[in-house]
Symmetry: C2
Subunit: 334 residues, 2 copies
DNA sequence: TTGTACGCGTTATCAT
DNA sequence: ATGATAACGCGTACAA
């Protein structure tokens, strides 16, 4: 593979000039530049990114570490981040931590070893990993959830006000006349799961309804877990007549269990789920959802990260997006 | 950030010894190794991947360039590839070409500049891009589709026998008593779209039914396009009573259009779609699908790539996976 | 077994 | 405006 030296030789200039030409420095004679590019073309030369990175002590690669690549919310985040990063000349490496603190830690180590320019993460593990990067002055932005254990909010975050959204959704179910409203949320301890449950409780409390622990369930944010949970809750006593479901993957499981029993969304069981996944329009009746601005979240995270790369110091920024309720057929009785 | 020199100094050895210790060479005195690791721990040293890569002239990063990150088929492929690559010590960079030849080309350039160890791609653009890598001895494996214009099959591929699967699915619709079976496939010219249409035709022909051009539609492999197409075909004359849909994203659009018209899958319109997306179990009745072994495809592609990295020469390998029909409620009248 | 010294390909500094 | 040259941090001949 041709190197800068080869090009310099063929063009009859120094490597410095070739470098300058390729980096668009204005201080290079147009005539020489011409010759450089001609030579480069002839040799089919591409600058060696590795050497450049070593020399400049910085890469233009960002990492996005998500807890579940198959979750449409995170793929949207990825697209948003990618598009913004792209325009600034950065590439994005997508990493899947699978909600395992171990895997997450490994990826953080990789980010450090490969001297990536920054990391966006939906954190699973404790704050240590993130702290490790920050000590090395590698910018980190948390998305979707704050970093567990990060007291004092020292790391940049892009979050969604799930609690208000959950409350709004629950209020809508109440307004629609549902009376025994339940909530299927994610694992206790996961911030989004807790918040969504809190918002649900807020609405019930405000409506003067008793808190009903037997109407609150935790599943693992995946279809199968929610399906099993729903089977139990549908077959048990005091069956709810409506459900707030904390993400779209679990909504799949809920619908599956309802199908098994011939239950129809809306009529037999009011339903609102978080995440406006494409398929939610495919079910009959269409699923009411809490739409999170996933793409914008990714895009904003990238922007924050790039800002932080440019100016490593300064106080942590926290951006809070609103989620909004999209009412469709599954949340009305008629 | 501490370098190998700092560690060597603190441990009272040469940088060579530190390097050997960190690379697990057996030729290093256990006592010295001990001292090296102690020093490294104290300094919180991490080898600089950039320098290592430059020195070794090779990275341990693989690229996966897909035509649509939001397509669950490709996210499964990504997971399969990632898991296999991981165990061999490689990382995977996920890139989204968005079915744009331009974007694809840019990512191929990045792969080249960053000296990535290999590329798995679902090709959109012409063979030139791929050829460019291969000339530079960067291994490439095509997944999902062959490389357009690659006469003679010079590049490694991992494909699925869509045609047979489409035929099988169509035969099932015929056996279920559907009489006016249509096909909504992807863009003409995209290999998978053409193959699935061919398989559909195979079945009709074999059943002694006339080819019916008015029952064949092309859409863009996305929900909205398929929805619009389906609106037209449902409202038009000679409306089909069953549909083979060439991917799950389009199935969403088809179902949406059906919902608008109060049509029920199976009873009013038999339905089989490619891709066993999680949500297909959430609709009522559940969607019959052609399940592709997406995870295995990714895993096999990684294996092929790693083999090729180890032995760059030798004839191109082509792996063909079977897809299998999963019959559920949407393909039976009852 | 260990150390010395060179080179990977590039960019930045300093002269010219 | 251009060229010579010294790093960047590591791995590996080669020598000891």
């Amino acid at each position: 593979m041709a190197t800068i030296t080869d090009v310099a030789a063929l063009a009859g200039v120094s490597t410095a000039t070739v470098s300058r030409a390729f980096n668009g420095k204005s201080t290079v004679d147009p005539l020489l530049a011409e010759r450089v590019f001609a030579a480069a073309g002839e040799l089919d030369y591409r600058p060696n990114g590795l050497a450049r990175n070593l020399r400049k002590q910085v890469t233009t690669v960002l990492a996005l570490i998500v807890s579940d690549v198959e979750n449409p919310f995170f793929t949207s985040v990825a697209r948003g981040m990618e598009d913004t990063a792209q325009t600034a000349g950065y590439s994005v490496v997508l990493c899947n931590s699978d909600d395992s603190a171990d895997k997450e830690r490994r990826y953080l180590e990789v980010a450090l070893q490969e001297r990536m320019a920054g990391v966006v993460i939906s954190p699973t593990g404790p704050v240590d990993g993130v702290r490790m990067l920050r000590e090395r002055r590698v910018p980190v932005v948390a998305v979707d959830r704050p970093v567990p254990g990060d007291v004092g909010g020292t790391v940049d975050e892009v979050l969604v006000d799930s609690r208000s959204a959950a409350r709004e959704a629950t209020e809508h179910l109440i307004a629609q006349g549902y009376e025994r409203i339940g909530c299927v949320t994610g694992p206790a301890g996961v911030a989004t799961a807790d918040e969504r449950l809190d918002g649900y409780r807020d609405a019930l409390t405000a409506a003067g309804r008793p808190a009903a622990p037997q109407h609150e369930w935790h599943a693992d944010y995946r279809p199968a877990g929610a399906r099993d949970t729903t089977r139990v809750l549908l077959d048990g006593p005091d069956r709810p007549d409506a459900l707030l479901v904390a993400n779209s993957a679990m909504a799949i499981g809920v619908l599956e269990a309802m199908n098994e029993r011939g239950l129809r969304p809306g009529r037999d069981l009011g339903l609102i789920a978080f995440d406006d996944a494409p398929w939610t329009r495919a079910v009959d009746p269409p699923l009411s959802v809490v739409a999170q601005p996933a793409y914008d979240i990714g895009s904003e995270a990238a922007r924050l990260l790039l800002t932080r790369i440019a100016a490593p110091d300064g106080p942590a920024a926290s951006t809070l997006f609103e989620a909004h309720l999209v009412t469709r057929g599954s949340s009305q009785r008629g």
